[in-house]
C-alpha cells in the first residue's frame, strides 16, 4: 500500500478534495438558507400578522389602548396544569374597552368566572399550545380535545357543576332533565344517576289492555301517542307478535294480587248515558286535565287521555282510580276520595266516550307461536325493556348500553363511526347523530329512537358532553347541597304519598317546582283558610293551566294537613312581626303605597289589575301578617326566581302595606 507513486497519489487527492470542497460549499449554502428561512418563517407567521394588525387597529381607535408587544404570549395555568397561547391572538379578552372590536381582539363576554384564572382550555378545549388558528381551533386528527363548538359550551359548566339544575346553563339543565325523563340510566351507566322518572310496571298488563292495542303500540309508539316518552325499537312484525303474546300473559298485579271486580249493581249502570254524564261532571270537578290532556286541552304531566277507552279495560280502570299505587307502585297519580259509585261513573265516562273512533282493531283470531313465551322473554331481555319497565319475575338483562359515565372525555378513537366514518370525528357529532338516528352507524344496533326536537337533541348532546372523567381538580368541583330526602312518617307522611303532593309541591328541599313551596306553609297561611281551601281548591293565579286538582279530600285528612301545617311547617322568623292591623290610618297609608307602586299592574283586587301575581282578594283571610311583611321585604329570599321584583321598602312602608293587604277580607267586601 505504501508503494504507490507520489504522482498518482497527488492526482487522486486533488480530485477527491475537490469533490469534498464542492459538497462542503453546497452544504454551507443550504445551511445558510435554512438558517435564514427559520427566522423568516417565524417573521411571517400568522400570529405576528395578527398582532401587528391589532396594533394598527388600536392606534385608530378614539380611546387610548396600549399596543401589544409583538411576541408569542402564553399563560401557564397552575390549578388546571395547562398552557394556553390563545392570548397571543385573542389580545383583548380582558380589556372591556375592546368589547366592540372584531375577533380575535374582542373582549370575552362577561362570565361567572375569570377566563384568565380558569384558563381557556378548561371551557373551550382546543389545542392551547398551537401557534396557528387551524391547529388551535380545528378538528385535528391527532388532537383528542378539539375546540368545543360554542353551542355545546355549556357542557363545560357541567364538568364542575353537578345537579340537574344549573341556573346559568339552561341548555345543560334541560339536557340533564331529559336524561332523567327519558330514563337513559335504565340502559346506560351514567355515574351515580339512577333511573329517573316513573315508568309503568308491566305486571298485570294482560288485564290492563287488549292484544290489538298493545301490538299497535309496540309497532310505533309515537304514532299512537305523539307526546310519549316510549322510544321506537324498530320491531319487525314477528317481534311485535312475540313480545305482545309474552306481555299479554302477564296477568298478575305487582304484589301478585288480582283486580277487584266492579260490583254488579254498578256494572249494569256503566252503559247508561246519565251515569256517563255524571262521570263527566266528576272528571271536570276533580280537574283531571290539570295533568292529563284531553282533545288538546290540559296539562302535560300525565298521559293523554283522549283515547283511553280504546286502550284500557274498564275493570282495570275502576281498580286504578280506587288505588293507583296498588296497580302501579310509585305512580304520581293521587288517590282521589271518590266513592265506589263516583269511581264507576268516571270509569263509565272514560271507557265509553274517550275512544279512538278512527281505529278499527284487527279482531281476527290470533294464535301465538308455540314457543312465544320463551322467545318473547328473550326479546324482552335483549331490548332491555326491564331497564325502564318493572316486571316481577324477569331478571334484568346484562346486555345493556355502553357506560356513559365519562363519555364527554372518552378518547375520540374509541367512538365507532362505523359506516359513517367520513363524518368529522368529534364527540358532539357522534352523540348528536346517535341520539337522532341511533342505528345509523352499524347494523344490528339495539338502541331505540326517541322522538326529540332539535332543541332537545342539542340539550341532550350537551348534557352527555358534560359527563366527565373526573380530571377537574377537586377544589373546583361545585359541591351540591347535601340533601336529605324529606320523607316524614305518620299520618302526614301517608297523606303525602296518597295524594302525591310532592309531585308538584316542595317541602324542605324535596319535591316538584310546579306549585308553591310548602316548607313554611304554616307561617304563611291561616289554618282556617287551609281547611276551607281543601274543600274546594281554586287557583290564585287565573292564567295557570296546571291547577290544584280537587282531590275530594275526606275531612280527617283535611284535619291532619291543617294541624301539620300549623305545628310543623313553620318559620319562626316570619311569625315574629308586630303590625297594628286595626290602625286605620296605617291601612290608608298602605292603600296609597299600593297605588303609588302600581302593585295592581300584577295583582288583582276586586277584578281590577294584572294576572301575573296572586289575587289579593281575601288576602286578609288567607295570609299571615308576618308573611306579607317578610315577603315584601325580600321576595327573593323565599323564592329566588320569583317574578316579584325586589322592592326597596322601609319598615314603615312595609307595615303600612301589610296592614292594607291584611284588611282585604271577605266580610268587608
Amino acid at each position: 500500500m505504501l508503494m504507490h507513486s507520489p504522482g498518482d497519489n497527488m492526482g487522486k487527492e486533488n480530485a477527491s478534495s475537490m469533490t469534498i470542497w464542492i459538497v462542503f460549499a453546497v452544504m454551507s449554502v443550504l445551511f445558510l438558507i435554512v438558517l435564514g428561512v427559520a427566522p423568516t418563517k417565524d417573521y411571517f407567521s400568522q400570529w405576528r400578522a395578527i398582532q401587528k394588525k391589532y396594533n394598527s387597529y388600536v392606534k385608530n381607535l378614539p380611546e387610548k389602548i396600549d399596543p401589544v408587544h409583538v411576541g408569542l404570549k402564553q399563560r401557564w395555568n397552575e390549578a388546571f396544569d395547562q398552557i394556553n397561547r390563545c392570548t397571543t391572538c385573542h389580545i383583548g379578552i380582558n380589556n372591556p374597552a375592546l368589547n366592540k372590536a372584531p375577533q380575535p381582539y374582542t373582549t370575552h363576554p362577561e362570565m361567572y368566572h375569570d377566563p384568565l384564572e380558569y384558563g381557556c382550555f378548561t371551557c373551550h378545549k382546543g389545542q392551547g399550545l398551537a401557534t396557528n388558528a387551524a391547529e388551535a381551533h380545528g378538528e385535528s386528527e391527532h388532537w383528542d380535545k378539539p375546540l368545543l363548538p360554542p353551542e355545546y359550551l355549556e357542557a363545560s359548566c357541567g364538568k364542575c357543576h353537578p345537579g340537574d339544575k344549573v341556573p346559568e346553563a339552561p341548555v345543560l339543565s334541560e339536557g340533564r332533565q331529559l336524561l332523567s325523563q327519558l330514563d337513559c340510566a335504565g340502559c346506560h351507566l351514567l355515574g351515580d344517576r339512577k333511573k329517573g322518572s316513573f315508568v309503568p310496571a308491566l305486571d298485570g298488563i294482560g288485564e290492563k289492555t287488549s292484544r290489538a292495542w298493545l301490538a299497535r303500540w309496540l309497532q310505533a309508539p309515537e304514532a299512537v301517542r305523539s307526546a310519549t316518552r316510549m322510544p321506537d325499537f324498530y320491531l319487525s312484525d314477528q317481534e311485535v307478535n312475540l313480545l305482545t303474546d309474552f306481555l299479554m300473559d302477564q296477568k298478575k298485579l305487582p304484589a301478585g294480587e288480582d283486580l277487584h271486580p266492579i260490583p254488579d249493581s254498578l256494572a249494569t249502570r256503566m252503559g247508561d248515558q246519565d251515569f256517563m254524564a255524571e262521570g263527566k261532571v266528576l272528571f271536570r270537578q276533580a280537574r283531571c286535565i290539570s295533568c292529563h290532556t284531553v282533545e288538546g286541552r290540559g296539562g302535560t304531566l300525565a298521559p293523554e287521555l283522549g283515547t283511553i277507552g280504546s286502550k284500557v279495560d274498564s275493570k282495570w280502570l275502576y281498580n286504578f282510580i280506587a288505588e293507583p299505587k296498588r296497580l302501579q307502585p310509585g305512580i304520581p297519580m293521587p288517590r282521589y276520595g271518590f266513592t265506589a259509585v263516583e269511581r264507576a261513573a268516571v270509569t263509565a265516562y272514560l271507557s265509553s266516550e274517550l275512544r279512538d273512533w278512527s281505529w278499527n282493531p284487527d279482531t281476527t283470531g290470533h294464535s301465538p307461536a308455540p314457543d312465544y313465551y320463551d322467545k318473547g322473554m328473550e326479546l324482552f331481555r335483549s331490548y332491555n325493556c326491564g331497564g325502564c319497565h318493572e316486571l316481577s319475575g324477569i331478571e334484568g338483562s346484562s346486555e345493556t348500553g355502553p357506560d356513559l359515565t365519562a363519555v364527554g372525555d372518552k378518547p375520540l378513537f374509541q367512538f365507532d363511526f362505523g359506516r359513517l366514518d367520513t363524518l368529522p370525528r368529534t364527540r358532539a357529532n357522534f352523540l348528536y347523530l346517535k341520539l337522532k338516528n341511533p342505528r345509523s352507524f352499524r347494523e344490528n344496533l339495539r338502541m331505540p329512537r326517541f322522538t326529540l326536537s332539535e332543541t332537545e337533541l342539542q340539550a341532550l348532546t350537551t348534557a352527555l358532553l358534560a359527563q366527565s372523567d373526573g380530571s377537574i381538580p377537586d377544589k373546583y368541583v361545585a359541591k351540591g347541597k347535601p340533601s336529605g330526602r324529606y320523607d316524614p312518617n305518620g299520618p302526614f307522611g301517608k297523606i303525602l304519598k296518597k295524594y302525591s303532593c310532592l309531585t308538584c309541591h316542595t317541602i324542605n328541599g324535596t319535591g316538584g317546582t310546579l306549585a308553591p313551596d310548602l316548607s313554611r306553609a304554616g307561617s304563611i297561611l291561616q289554618p282556617d283558610w287551609v281547611q276551607s281551601y281543601f274543600r274546594v281548591p281554586y287557583s290564585l293565579r287565573p292564567v295557570l293551566t296546571e291547577r290544584m286538582p280537587n282531590l275530594f279530600l275526606p275531612d280527617q285528612d283535611n284535619e291532619v294537613i291543617r294541624q301539620y301545617f300549623d305545628l310543623v311547617l313553620r318559620d319562626d322568623a316570619i311569625d315574629s312581626v308586630n303590625v297594628d292591623l286595626r290602625d286605620t290610618s296605617l291601612v290608608a297609608r298602605g292603600k296609597e303605597l299600593y297605588r303609588e307602586n302600581s302593585c295592581s299592574a300584577c295583582h288583582q283586587i276586586n277584578g281590577k289589575g294584572g294576572y301575573v301575581g296572586a289575587q289579593l282578594d281575601e288576602a286578609g283571610d288567607r295570609l299571615t301578617p308576618g308573611w306579607v311583611y317578610h315577603w315584601l321585604q325580600n321576595p327573593q329570599r323565599y323564592v329566588p326566581a320569583t317574578p316579584e321584583p325586589a322592592h326597596d321598602l322601609g319598615r314603615q312602608q312595609l307595615e303600612a302595606l301589610t296592614a292594607y293587604i291584611m284588611s282585604l277580607k271577605r266580610d268587608q267586601q
Binding site: Q46, L423, T451, P643
Partner: protein, 170 residues
C-alpha cells in the same frame, strides 16, 4: 392573508353546512313538543332504521347557528322569565298581562322608537322602573332584583329586538 381567506372560507362553509337547521326552527320550538316531521301511522308500518346513504345524504350536522351573542342569549332567558308577561315573548308589547295595563307596554321591536334610545336610558328604565323615568308606574323598578351585569344582558337582548345587529355573534 392566505390564512385569513381560508378562515373566511371555512366559516362560510360551516355556515352553509348548518343552514339546514336555522335558529328560528330551534329556539322557537318549546321543549317537549314533537317535531312536525313525526311520521304518521301509515308511514311507520314496516319501518327500517335509515341506511348509511340516507343518513349521509340528509343535511346532517351537530352544529347550531346562534343568531344571538352569548350575553344577549342570557338576556333573552331573563327577559322571558321577568319581562315577557307584559312585553310579550317577542317583545311586541303583547304579553298576556299587557291588556291590564294602561298605557300598554312599549313595543320593543319598533326601530323608530327604540333605536334612538341610548343603552344608558334603557338600563335606567329597567333599574328605576316607569316612575324613575317619568313613564307609566306600572313598569316596576328592577334595580334591586338584577345585578348590573344582568341588566346589561337584558339591554343587549332588547337591542336585538329592534333590529340592532351589534349583538349578533361575530
Amino acid at each position: 392573508m392566505k390564512a385569513r381567506i381560508w378562515l373566511t372560507v371555512s366559516i362560510f362553509a360551516l355556515q352553509m353546512i348548518a343552514c339546514g337547521k336555522n335558529e328560528s326552527h330551534r329556539t322557537d320550538e318549546m321543549p317537549g313538543t314533537v317535531p312536525s316531521d313525526t311520521p304518521r301511522v301509515e308511514e311507520t308500518r314496516n319501518r327500517q332504521p335509515p341506511t348509511a346513504e340516507q343518513v349521509a345524504s340528509s343535511p346532517l350536522s351537530a352544529r347550531v347557528q346562534y343568531t344571538l351573542s352569548y350575553p344577549a342569549r342570557q338576556g333573552k332567558n331573563l327577559f322571558l322569565r321577568y319581562c315577557a308577561v307584559c312585553h310579550g315573548t317577542t317583545g311586541k308589547g303583547d304579553g298576556f298581562n299587557a291588556w291590564n295595563l294602561q298605557p300598554h307596554p312599549r313595543d320593543l321591536t319598533d326601530p323608530k322608537y327604540m333605536n334612538v334610545l341610548s343603552k344608558a336610558r334603557i338600563s335606567e328604565t329597567i333599574r328605576e322602573g316607569g316612575i324613575g323615568v317619568r313613564k307609566s308606574p306600572d313598569m316596576p323598578a328592577w334595580g334591586n332584583t338584577f345585578t348590573d351585569r344582568q341588566v346589561d344582558e337584558i339591554v343587549r337582548y332588547i337591542r336585538t329586538l329592534s333590529g340592532d345587529s351589534a349583538n349578533t355573534p361575530q
